[in-house]
C-alpha cells in the first residue's frame, strides 16, 4: 500500500510537467502578447518591457526559467497587475476559492446521500419521485442559470441575502447563495449515484440473508446496505470536489466572490502568462491529488480492494 501511494505521488510530477509544457506552448503559440492595449505602446517600450521580463529570450529558455522559479516557489510577475506578483494574487484568492468549494462539497454530500438513500428505500413511491424530481432539476439547471435565478429571487426581490461579495464566517449570509448555486449539480449527481448503488445492493444475497435472519430493518439498512452502497459513491467524490474548486469561476464572477477563479478568463484574454500558468498548475495539482486521495480511501473502506 505504501509503495503504491509513493508511486502514485511520484507519478503526479510527470503529469504536472506535461500539463505545464502543453499550457506554456499553447499560450505562447497564440497570437498577441501581454502588451496589447487599446492605445498601442511604442515599439521601443514593448522591446524594453520584453527585455525586462525576459520575454525576448528563446521560448525554451523562458520555459526553463519559469520551471526553475516555480520549483523555488516563485510564480513570477503579473503583466496586468504590475504592482503584484502572481504569488500575491494566488495567496489572496485561493483561500476563498477553496472555502467556497469545500462548503459546496459538504452541502452536496450532506443533502445528496440522504436523498439517494431515501429514494432507493422508498423505490417507486412518492419520496422516490420527489427525490428524483430534485435531482432532475439539479442536473438540468446550469450553475449560471441557478445563480441568476437565486440572485434575483432571494437578493433583489426578497432582500434576504446580499447580491455580491464574500466575507466567510464573518458574515455567513454572504456564503449562502454562492454555495447553493454551486452545489445544485453535485447534489443531483450524488443523489442519482447513491440511489442506483442502493438499488443494486438491495438485490444482494447478504441483504436477503440479513432479512431472513430477522434483523431489524434499521440495522439492515445502516450496516448492510448503506455501508456497501457508499463504496462506489466515494469514487465520484474526488472528481466532484475537483469540479467544485475549478468550476467555481462562473459563480465567483456572478456573485463577485474574490477567489482566484475569476482571474482566469481575464488573464487568458490579456496573455498574463504567469497567472495562466499558476492557475492551470494549481487546478491540475488539485485534481491529481484529489484523485489519489479517493483511490486510497477506496481501498481503505473496501477491504476487498488491495493495491500493490
Amino acid at each position: 500500500m505504501l509503495g503504491y501511494i509513493i508511486r502514485r505521488v511520484l507519478w503526479i510530477i510527470p503529469v504536472l510537467f506535461v500539463v505545464s509544457l502543453i499550457t506554456f506552448s499553447l499560450m505562447h503559440a497564440a497570437p498577441g502578447g501581454p502588451w496589447d492595449r487599446e492605445k498601442k505602446l511604442s515599439a521601443s517600450t514593448i522591446a524594453h518591457l520584453n527585455e525586462k521580463y525576459g520575454l525576448s529570450d528563446p521560448i525554451h529558455i523562458q520555459y526553463l526559467s519559469w520551471v526553475g522559479n516555480m520549483v523555488r516557489g516563485d510564480l513570477g510577475p503579473s503583466y496586468k497587475y504590475i504592482d503584484r506578483s502572481v504569488n500575491d494574487i494566488v495567496a489572496d484568492g485561493i483561500g476563498t476559492t477553496a472555502h467556497l468549494g469545500i462548503m459546496a462539497f459538504l452541502l452536496s454530500v450532506i443533502l445528496g446521500i440522504p436523498l439517494g438513500v431515501i429514494a432507493a428505500l422508498r423505490h417507486n413511491k412518492i419520496p422516490d419521485y420527489l427525490a428524483t424530481f430534485v435531482s432532475v432539476i439539479g442536473i438540468a439547471t446550469p450553475s449560471f442559470v441557478a445563480a441568476i435565478l437565486l440572485l434575483v429571487f432571494f437578493s433583489v426581490t426578497l432582500r434576504w441575502f446580499p447580491t455580491h461579495g464574500w466575507d466567510g464566517w464573518a458574515e455567513p449570509d454572504t456564503m449562502v447563495l454562492p454555495t447553493i448555486a454551486l452545489s445544485l449539480f453535485p447534489i443531483a449527481q450524488i443523489a442519482r449515484f447513491t440511489r442506483a448503488s442502493m438499488l443494486e445492493v438491495t438485490r444482494k444475497d447478504y441483504v436477503r440473508t440479513a432479512q431472513s435472519k430477522g434483523l431489524r430493518e434499521r440495522s439492515i439498512v445502516v450496516v448492510h446496505m448503506i455501508r456497501n452502497a457508499l463504496i462506489p459513491v466515494v469514487t465520484i467524490l474526488g472528481p466532484l470536489l475537483a469540479f467544485l474548486i475549478t468550476g467555481s469561476f462562473i459563480i465567483e464572477t456572478i456573485f463577485s466572490v474574490p477567489g482566484i477563479g475569476r482571474y482566469y478568463v481575464t488573464s487568458i484574454g490579456q496573455r498574463d502568462y504567469g497567472v495562466i500558468m499558476a492557475m492551470t498548475m494549481l487546478y491540475a495539482a488539485a485534481i491529481a491529488v484529489l484523485n489519489l486521495v479517493v483511490d486510497v480511501l477506496y481501498a481503505y473502506i473496501d477491504p476487498r480492494i488491495r493495491y500493490s
Binding site: 497570437p31 438540468a140 462562473i250
Partner: protein, 314 residues
C-alpha cells in the same frame, strides 16, 4: 392422447420471439417511459435544429426597431403580439433566436461526440489490442489529459486562438466544439480499452484468429460491434456535458459570436432585463434544461436497456 399431439403441433419456440441483443434492448427501451419521453424530445430538438431556418417566424438576427420604439424601447413581452415568445431589447424575435440556439446546441452534441469517437476509439482500441508498452504509453497519455482542468483548457484554447482563421470558422463555434471534444475523449478511450480487453479473451475471437482473420478485421468486425452498447450509452450521456460546456462558455462570452444566439449567450444578454422582462432568461434557460434532461433520460434508458447484467431482472 389427442391433447398431447395438439400441444406439440404448436411449437414452443414460436411463442417466444427471437431474442437478439438489439431487439431485446429496443423492447426494454420502449417500455421505459422516461427514456421514450427523452428520445422523443431528442428527435424534436434535432428536427427543430434542422428545420429552424425554415420554420423560424423571422430571421434570428433581424431587429424590429419600429416595434421596439412603439414599446417605449423595452423588450416586447411574450404571448401578446406577433412575436410569440416576445423580443429582446433590440427587437429580435426570441423564438427565432432560440431556434438558432437549438442549431448550435445540437451541432455541439454531434461534433463533440464525433471528435470524442475519432480520438478515443483508435487510442482505446490500439491500447487494448497491442497491449504491453503501447498500452502503457497510451494510457499514461490519457492520464495526463484527464488531469487537465477541462473547462480551463477549453477556455485557454478558445480564447488564445480566437483571432486565428480556425478560431473564426463558423462564427467562432468550430474552435469551441473541437476544444470541448479534445478534453472529453479520455472517458471513451478508457471505456473502449476496457471493453476490448475483456472481449479479446472470448472464444469467438480465438476462433477468428485460428482461421487467420487479420488483426484489423478482428478489431473492426468482431470486437467493436460487441462493444457497441456501452459506447452508445457513453456517447449519449456525454452529450449533456458538451451542451452544458458550450452554454457555459457562451454565457461568459466565449464561442458563438454575435449575432449568433447560443442559449448561453441568450441568458447572458437577458440578465440585465431579468426583473422587467424575465422571459429573456426564462425561455433560454428552459431550452437548456429540457435539452439536458432529454439526453440524460435517453442515455439512462439506453444504459438500462443495453446492460446485460440486468437481463431477466425487473
Amino acid at each position: 392422447m389427442p391433447n398431447r399431439t395438439e400441444a406439440l403441433e404448436k411449437p414452443a419456440v414460436a411463442v417466444r420471439r427471437s431474442a437478439s441483443l438489439w431487439g431485446d434492448a429496443w423492447r426494454r427501451l420502449i417500455r421505459n417511459r422516461l427514456a421514450v419521453v427523452g428520445g422523443v424530445l431528442v428527435v424534436t430538438f434535432f428536427s427543430l435544429a434542422i428545420l429552424g431556418p425554415f420554420i423560424a417566424p423571422y430571421e434570428y438576427q433581424a431587429q424590429h426597431l419600429q416595434e421596439i420604439l412603439a414599446n417605449n424601447n423595452r423588450p416586447i413581452a411574450p404571448f401578446g403580439s406577433e412575436f410569440f415568445l416576445g423580443t429582446d431589447n433590440l427587437g429580435r424575435d426570441l423564438l427565432s433566436r432560440l431556434l438558432d440556439g437549438a442549431q448550435i446546441s445540437m451541432t455541439v452534441a454531434l461534433v463533440v461526440q464525433a471528435v470524442v469517437l475519432l480520438i478515443g476509439l483508435p487510442i482505446g482500441a490500439a491500447a487494448a489490442w497491442f497491449g504491453g508498452r503501447v498500452d502503457t504509453y497510451l494510457m499514461r497519455f490519457t492520464d495526463v489529459i484527464y488531469a487537465f482542468p477541462d473547462l480551463l483548457f477549453i477556455i485557454l484554447l478558445s480564447v488564445a486562438f480566437r483571432e486565428t482563421f480556425f478560431g473564426k470558422a463558423m462564427n467562432g463555434l468550430l474552435l469551441v466544439f473541437v476544444a470541448i471534444g479534445l478534453t472529453a475523449w479520455v472517458g471513451m478511450a478508457r471505456l473502449v480499452r476496457g471493453q476490448l480487453l475483456s472481449l479479446k479473451e472470448t472464444e469467438f475471437v480465438e476462433a477468428a484468429r485460428a482461421i487467420g482473420v487479420s488483426d484489423f478485421r478482428i478489431v473492426t468486425r468482431h470486437l467493436l460491434p460487441n462493444a457497441m452498447g456501452p459506447m452508445i450509452v457513453a456517447v449519449t450521456l456525454g452529450i449533456p456535458g458538451a451542451i452544458l460546456a458550450e452554454a457555459t462558455l457562451a454565457f461568459i462570452g466565449i464561442g458563438a459570436q454575435a449575432p449568433r444566439a447560443s442559449w448561453g449567450s441568450l441568458v447572458a444578454n437577458g440578465q440585465p432585463f431579468l426583473r422587467s422582462s424575465p422571459h429573456l432568461v426564462i425561455f433560454p434557460a428552459l431550452a437548456v434544461a429540457t435539452a439536458l434532461i432529454s439526453f440524460t433520460f435517453l442515455g439512462d434508458g439506453l444504459r438500462d436497456a443495453l446492460d446485460p447484467k440486468l437481463k431477466g431482472k425487473q
